[in-house]
Structure formats: structure tokens, C-alpha cells
């Protein structure tokens, strides 16, 4: 047994020294070791900042974000701009920080959701006001471009079983959940728990307090599966989600406009060149909700690659 052997030798007290020499070697090797551990291509500081002249398009960790980032990136490439991608980063809480420090320079955003993130108290009366309010609150190096008509809102949806049990229909509102919420488990992305466009707003605006919250993903397969299997009875689903129709989820109306506006809008660094701004404005002009739904379905239901879907749409829209 190795252990017995080692305990025996541990006990032996006599040992010749020469510790000084060994310590020296050790220090030398330690230094060499430090060099060895740093021999990667990424210098941590250099890696943080996007390379000059290159646009870095980022995306969050859900399929639509990747698709939109691909659309933006390919549209920029078509104008001869050098583009790199940084996909699947995480949530807005993370990506906004990376926009601020310049690690990424273009990010597909949703105007009202971004406003709620920057300022949960801000009112959301019209799309124009929302964009102005966002711009006023953005970090100084950043700006918001023109919004597209395409809208993909947060929603609270219930599954068919829950809808039936509590007699909720397409005309029911979030306010109707007030009495039954304590019996329901709600699911959403981990960040939904702490957002104003989430549990916080549901409580302060509609007085909804659920039995518990189950952290899933950002409206992705986990959320869809949890809602379908009644692991959760209500969930945060994006309104462009193709499974709403497929699984007969009931989207609850939001009369107080808690979830505000959610038009797809590029958030960009002010260093983005003019032709880049024009290219993204041209994309936004042509992207409407119906188109977005169709493209989402191609990615999420038909399992096409988002980059291929992005390229095909840009081509069909004459933007390539």
C-alpha cells in the first residue's frame, strides 16, 4: 500500500539537508511554472477590448438572440465591415457589462426590456419615448439604433391544464391570477427572479405572489418542457415562441403594460462606423414580428442553422 509506505517514511526523521539549493531550484522552477501557466494566446487585458476596426457582435444564451446577432453580423459583413462573433454569453446582466467595457460592440436588444433593466421605475408609454429614455440612461459609449417593428415580449403564460382548471382564456389578464398565484409554481430564467420584468414587477404591479419560482432557461426547451409537463403551471415565455401555439399555452394579457415594449433594436457602441449604422437600420426597417416568428420557427422547430437562416433572409430582403 502506498499509504503505509508513505506513513513509514513520514516518520523517519533523518534527512540530509541542502534545502537552500533545493529551495533555489524550486523558486526557479516556480517562475518557469508561472511562465508556463500564462502561455495561452489570450492576454486577459488585451482579450477584453475588441480589436480596433473589428465589430464584435454578441448574443445572449437563447436561440433568437443568436439568430438576430447572425443577421446583424452578416448585414455588416455585406458592407465590408470586419465582424467577429461572441455568442451565447449569458444574460443581459452580463452582456450589458461587456458592451460597457467594449468587449462587444453590437448586441441585439429589446428596447423596453433594456429600459426596465437600466431603470425599473421608468414608464413605457410609446416606443419612441422608450428609445429616448434608454438613450438617456445608457453608458456614454453606447447608443441605441432605430427599433424594428418586430416585437418579442416577455409574457407570463400558463399551460392548457392550468388554464382549464382556473378557467383562464386568451382574454384573461395577469390580474386574474391574483387569487390563484399562491397555488402556482412559476418558471423562468434565473434572471427573471430578480428583474422588474419578472417576479419583482409581477409582485409590485399585479400583486402576484407565486407558491415558488423554478429557475429554468430563457424561454428555451427547459421552460417549454416544464410548462408542458406541468412541472410549472406558469412560465416566462417569449411571445414569438413557436411552442405557444403548438402546446396551447395561454398567454395572459398585460393591461398595466408591465412588460412594456420589446421591439428588436440594436444596441451598439458609438464607435460603430456610419455604414454599419446604415446597414443595421436597413435590417430593422424590414424586420417585422411575422418575419421574426417565421425565422424563429425555422431555427427552433425545423432545426436549421441560425447563420443559414440569417443569410437566407438577408438575401431575400435584398440586404446581402
Amino acid at each position: 500500500m502506498t499509504s503505509t509506505a508513505s506513513t513509514h517514511s513520514t516518520r523517519s526523521r533523518t534527512r540530509h539537508t541542502g534545502a537552500g539549493a533545493v529551495a533555489l531550484t524550486a523558486v526557479a522552477a516556480l517562475l518557469a511554472g508561472c511562465g508556463g501557466s500564462g502561455d495561452t494566446s489570450d492576454n486577459p487585458l488585451a482579450g477584453e477590448k475588441a480589436e480596433a476596426g473589428t465589430v464584435v457582435v454578441g448574443s445572449n444564451n437563447f436561440a433568437e438572440s443568436t439568430l438576430l446577432a447572425d443577421i446583424y453580423g452578416e448585414a455588416l459583413k455585406a458592407k465590408g465591415i470586419k465582424v467577429t462573433y461572441k455568442h451565447n454569453i449569458g444574460s443581459r446582466e452580463t452582456t450589458y457589462g461587456l458592451m460597457k467595457n467594449g468587449s462587444i460592440t453590437v448586441l441585439p436588444e429589446y428596447n423596453g426590456s433594456l429600459l426596465a433593466f437600466l431603470d425599473p421605475e421608468a414608464e413605457q408609454k410609446s416606443a419612441e419615448e422608450v428609445n429616448a429614455a434608454v438613450k438617456a440612461r445608457l453608458d456614454k459609449g453606447l447608443t441605441l439604433l432605430q427599433s424594428s417593428p418586430a416585437e418579442d415580449k416577455d409574457s407570463v403564460s400558463v399551460n392548457a391544464e392550468t388554464a382549464k382548471k382556473y378557467k383562464l382564456t386568451a382574454s384573461s389578464t395577469l390580474a386574474d391570477l391574483k387569487d390563484v398565484a399562491p397555488e402556482l409554481v412559476i418558471g423562468g430564467s434565473p434572471e427573471f427572479q430578480t428583474r422588474h420584468h419578472g417576479l419583482k414587477g409581477l409582485k409590485s404591479v399585479y400583486g402576484l405572489e407565486f407558491e415558488s419560482f423554478k429557475a429554468l432557461d430563457a424561454g428555451g426547451p427547459l421552460t417549454q418542457a416544464a410548462l408542458t409537463r406541468n412541472t410549472v403551471q406558469a412560465a416566462n415565455i417569449f411571445t414569438t415562441d413557436p411552442t405557444i401555439v403548438k402546446e396551447k399555452f395561454v398567454v395572459l394579457k398585460d393591461p398595466e403594460n408591465l412588460f412594456g415594449f420589446a421591439n428588436v433594436t440594436p444596441l451598439v457602441s458609438k464607435e460603430l462606423p456610419k455604414e454599419g449604422v446604415d446597414a443595421l437600420d436597413a435590417v430593422s426597417a424590414k424586420l417585422d414580428t411575422e418575419t421574426l416568428l417565421k425565422l424563429d420557427a425555422q431555427v427552433q422547430l425545423e432545426k436549421k442553422d441560425p447563420l443559414d437562416v440569417a443569410k437566407a433572409w438577408l438575401k431575400s430582403a435584398g440586404l446581402d
Binding site: M1, T2, S3, A5, S6, S9, T10, S12, T14, H16, T17, G18, A19, A21, V22, A23, T25, A26, A28, A29, L30, A32, G33, C34, G36, S37, D39, T40, S41, D42, P44, G47, E48, S59, N61, A63, T66, A69, D70, Y85, K86, H87, N88, I89, G90, T94, L98, S103, D217, G220, P221, L222, V299, Q300, K303, K304, D305, P306, L307, D308
Partner: protein
């Protein structure tokens, strides 16, 4: 886009590219860990009082889950490979230091005395006598560290496409394509088995005096998992 090898474009790598990335992200930290562990272990052998506190610190470091380590490092090293590799190097170090210390200590006194009598200085004695005799145990430690490192790289997928083959797991979930998860698990496992086999081979080359088959297998695995620090294998 339903095939086993149809890698979604947002991973920005082909299948072989992901494998290459995985190898780099997993093995560089082990190498770095070994380079740091050798002198640190030697210090622990020399300065006996140092070993207990070093073991204590490593045990605590070891108990920190990898994901938390990654997240905290993001502020310093960004969402980069380095953020994944630093914790893996630390875990490797934690496995290797006790393995090397125990191995070097287990070299019999008579052998050391013989080396001294032959006029070997401490450095030469370390490099030519102690280290070669300790080689099987060092390699056993390297096998544990390598297997764990290859497994843990995948967790990097959670901090934004930094998990090499693990990114396939995030994609499998995001696009609801289970075949990508199968691909990830099988490729990662194959990679781990291959690296393990190479280490066994290396041990045979380095220690030609040892009978074949010993030092590996369950005996080495048991020896390695005896230490509280060796619990890295696959979290």
C-alpha cells in the same frame, strides 16, 4: 441540421476544432499545475512543517465548485479560455502536490544514502533518483488530474462558449438537439480514455524496471482516491 456532426454555427468551430480547443483548455492547465507542483512538493518534502498547511489550503481550494471559480474570475480575466484554465490548473496542482510529496517521501532511506555515498548532490539526487522512483505515483496523479480537467472544461460552456466540446451541451439544450449532447459526451470520454492510455504508456517508457501492469489499474486508482484532495475526478 440534425446530424451528429452538424455543429451549430454559433459555436464557431468545426468538430475537430472543438476537439483541439478541448485538448488545449484541458491539458495546458495540467501542465502548468505539474510545473508548479514539482517545486512546491519539493519544498513540502524539505520543510516538513509546510506540508500540513499546504494540504489544508489545497483541501479548501478543492472544495470550491468549478463554476463558482469561473464566475468569480470573469471580473479579472473576462469570458476567456484563461478563466476556465486557471481553476483547472489549481485543481491539478491540488491533486499533484500530495501525490508527488508522498511519492518522493516513499523513496527508501537506503536508496538516498546510496546516492549520497556515490557523490550525488541534492539536486542531482532529486532529479536522477527521487523523481524517477516517484514517477509512477506522479503519473497516477497526472491521470486523475487529466481526467478531471478534460471533464471540467465542459462546464466552461456556462460562461459563454468557453467549454470547447461542452459548448455542444449548451447548444443541445438551446436548440433541443440531443444528438449534440451525445456527441459531446462520447467525444469527451474518448478523449479522456486516449489521454489516460498515453499516460500509462508514458509510465511504461519512464519506468522500464517496473513489471508491466503494476502501478496502474485499480491499485493506483485506489491510492490516488485515498487522499481527500483527489476527489476531483469528475465534478
Amino acid at each position: 441540421m440534425n446530424g451528429f456532426f452538424d455543429i451549430p454555427s454559433d459555436l464557431q468551430h468545426s468538430w475537430p476544432g472543438l476537439i483541439g480547443l478541448h485538448v488545449r483548455e484541458a491539458l495546458l492547465p495540467v501542465a502548468a499545475g505539474l510545473l508548479l507542483a514539482l517545486p512546491l512538493a519539493q519544498l513540502c518534502v524539505r520543510l516538513r512543517w509546510l506540508y500540513a498547511p499546504v494540504l489544508g489550503v489545497t483541501t479548501v481550494l478543492y472544495a470550491i465548485p468549478s463554476l463558482a471559480f469561473f464566475v468569480v474570475l470573469i471580473d479579472y480575466t473576462g469570458q476567456t479560455e484563461l478563466t476556465v484554465m486557471i481553476p483547472l490548473a489549481v485543481y491539478s496542482l491540488v491533486v499533484l502536490v500530495p501525490a508527488i510529496v508522498d511519492a518522493v517521501r516513499s523513496v527508501p532511506q537506503e536508496t538516498l544514502a546510496a546516492a549520497t555515498a556515490m557523490g550525488f548532490g541534492p539536486v542531482r539526487r532529486y532529479l536522477q533518483v527521487q523523481l524517477p522512483i516517484a514517477a509512477p505515483a506522479v503519473i497516477a496523479g497526472l491521470r486523475v488530474a487529466t481526467a478531471s480537467s478534460i471533464s471540467l472544461v465542459s462546464v466552461g460552456a456556462l460562461i459563454g462558449n468557453q467549454g470547447a466540446l461542452g459548448n455542444l451541451l449548451a447548444a443541445a439544450q438551446k436548440y433541443d438537439r440531443p444528438e449534440l449532447a451525445v456527441n459531446s459526451v462520447l467525444t469527451t470520454a474518448a478523449l479522456a480514455i486516449l489521454c489516460d492510455a498515453l499516460l500509462v504508456l508514458l509510465r511504461r517508457v519512464l519506468t522500464p524496471w517496473m513489471p508491466r501492469g503494476s502501478g496502474g489499474g485499480p491499485r493506483a486508482a485506489a491510492a490516488a482516491s485515498q487522499r481527500p484532495e483527489a476527489e476531483v475526478a469528475a465534478r
